[in-house]
């Protein structure tokens, strides 16, 4: 199995660390993984995106143009990556600030109002964990146990007291994802 | 008659009442700087002066490598982008080949004091008739907040994550005091732009620096102590407070050399 994922949004949304947790979770279940961000000064305040691949085989290109899954957190990224989802693939997006919604009818589309959920949890910083939860709900490529392991591994020790908070954000995410269109 | 907001607007907002607006010598491009970064204020002051002094068509500026690498996108005058640290070498040649132009460099502390220390030292020592604007934010902003030669003792950066250890990494380097020692410099000053008062004073100082060049007196050198709120990992408002409370203790503001004479103890 190989899953090729793009996660894209604003700089401050935790896109990169969400990708990192996903990748670490892959490692926890013995998979090969890669995580490739776009980098550079445009990251400052601008957009950020990361390509994450989980696979049972050796991973070839860490940079891709077509994805099994696109996780989209702002309009700019939606405009850029909607067309990059492989037919039959998944597009998960946060509808906040989205003015032009996804239109494709050959892919599965879901949405998650993650900022809302995160602020209900009393901590806007777990925004990205909510998104992650939503994604794992619709595409459980890693088990929840491995995600927790991955989370632990990717957080420095001194933040480990935040693990429960993050875990519950993931759980909340699984609960709040909405189907927009499912083709399967 | 009660003055509603709308009424005030109607009365006051007329072209003839405009007392402050962005100079056309700044382009319309959105500055690439982080919110609250001092680079923006420094850019504006400099370009206002170029406009006010009628130098628009007689200015050649040099951008460094650092956050202000794209200064040429914002400053609406002829500009060159130098290799990291070498702006004074470019300026040397440009001024000697076009003695009638106003030639300035705009450089960060990593650029001017780390990799470019020698070009700074020698251009100032030769007394090149150029103006150096030196933005000291105590850090390498552009590359993600690494330690600069100007980083304060104990200050945390991405390459001094436990604080600058002066025993291992030395003390902050005061390039401004060093160039003030050289006979080639004619006007050397240290300013700041984090409050309106400071910014206005800095503007006066830069004006003087430009005049010194126009009069052919030698090198004029203006350090501007500034914030790098991103690198310092603070909000802009907090960063400016921190600047006031910490940076200025080490980097004392004020003129250091005026009319070719030291006016302050430098050691």
């Amino acid at each position: 199995m190989t899953e090729e994922i793009i996660i894209a949004g604003f700089g401050g949304q935790g896109v990169l660390s969400m990708g990192k947790i996903l990748a670490y979770s892959g490692i926890m279940q013995g998979q090969e993984v890669s995580w490739m961000p776009s980098y550079g000064p445009e990251m400052r305040g601008g957009t950020a995106n990361v390509t994450v691949i989980l696979s049972d085989e050796r991973i070839s290109s860490p940079i891709l143009t077509k994805f099994d899954t696109a996780i989209i957190l702002n309009q700019q990224s939606l405009d850029k990556f909607e067309k990059a989802v492989k037919p039959g693939g998944i597009l998960l997006y946060d509808p906040n600030g989205i003015t032009r919604h996804p239109e494709r009818d050959d892919i599965n589309i879901y949405k998650i109002d993650a900022s809302h959920v995160a602020s209900e949890l009393g901590n806007p910083k777990v925004y990205n964990m909510v998104v992650l939860g939503a994604y794992l709900k619709v595409n459980p490529i890693v088990s929840m146990d491995n995600v927790k392991e991955g989370l632990k591994k990717s957080l420095p020790e001194r933040y480990h007291h935040l693990l429960p908070l993050n875990e519950s954000a993931i759980e909340e995410g699984t609960k709040h994802v909405e189907v927009v269109r499912e083709i399967k | 008659m009660e003055l509603t907001a709308d009424k005030i607007k109607e009365l006051v907002v007329k072209p003839e009442n405009k007392v402050y607006a962005k100079t056309p010598l700044l382009t319309d491009k959105t500055l690439s700087y982080c919110p609250g970064c001092g680079h923006g204020v420094a850019h504006r002051i400099l370009m206002e002066l170029v406009e006010e002094m009628g130098l628009e068509n007689d200015t050649i500026g040099i951008a460094p490598v650092g956050c202000s690498v794209l200064a040429y996108e914002f400053m609406n005058v002829d500009m060159q982008e130098a290799a990291h640290g070498r702006a004074p070498a470019l300026a040397t040649a440009i001024k000697r080949l076009w003695p009638g132009k106003f030639v300035f460099t705009y450089q960060g502390d990593g650029d001017l004091a780390a990799i470019g220390g020698n070009e700074t030292l020698h251009a100032c020592n030769r007394g090149e008739n150029i103006t150096i604007i030196f933005i000291n934010n105590g850090i390498y902003g552009m590359t993600g907040g690494q330690m600069a030669p100007t980083t304060l003792p104990g200050m945390r950066t991405s390459t001094s994550p436990y604080g600058r250890d002066t025993h291992m990494m030395g003390n902050p380097l005061k390039m401004t005091e060093i160039v003030a020692m050289l006979p080639g410099t004619y006007f050397v000053t240290r300013q700041a732009v984090h409050t309106a008062k400071h910014a206005r004073k800095a503007k006066k100082a830069i004006k003087k620096a430009i005049e010194v060049q126009l009069e052919g007196k030698g090198t004029s050198f203006v350090e501007i102590v500034s914030n790098c709120n991103s690198g310092w990992k603070m909000t802009p408002v907090k960063a400016n407070q921190w600047l006031e409370e910490n940076m200025l203790d080490y980097y004392h503001l004020g003129d250091i050399k005026v009319d070719g004479k030291l006016v302050k103890e430098i050691v």
């Binding site: - | 005030i8 405009k18 500055l31 504006r44 802009p236």
Partner: protein, 77 residues
């Protein structure tokens, strides 16, 4: 009828990066940050009470992005 120096500022809200430096700089405390965000995702500065404004331009002078325009006039009150 008395004369008064009245100021007024315009903030280009789309260009504002929400740094709050103008808020701190204003001696009259008449700038605040918006609840909404602009197209770049920033809470922008709002000039919420013109009356005390003296048009000192301190706000504009500290604004790194040069998004504030200042007007000043003697008006009759």
């Amino acid at each position: 009828m008395a004369k008064k120096v009245q100021g007024y500022i315009e903030i280009d809200k789309e260009k504002c990066k929400g740094c709050e430096l103008c808020v701190v700089a204003c001696p009259k405390d008449i700038i605040r940050m918006s609840k909404d965000v602009n197209g770049k995702g920033y809470h922008y500065a709002e000039f919420f009470n013109p009356e005390p404004c003296v048009g000192c331009a301190d706000c504009a002078v500290v604004c790194p992005d040069g998004v504030i325009t200042v007007y000043r006039a003697r008006i009759e009150v």
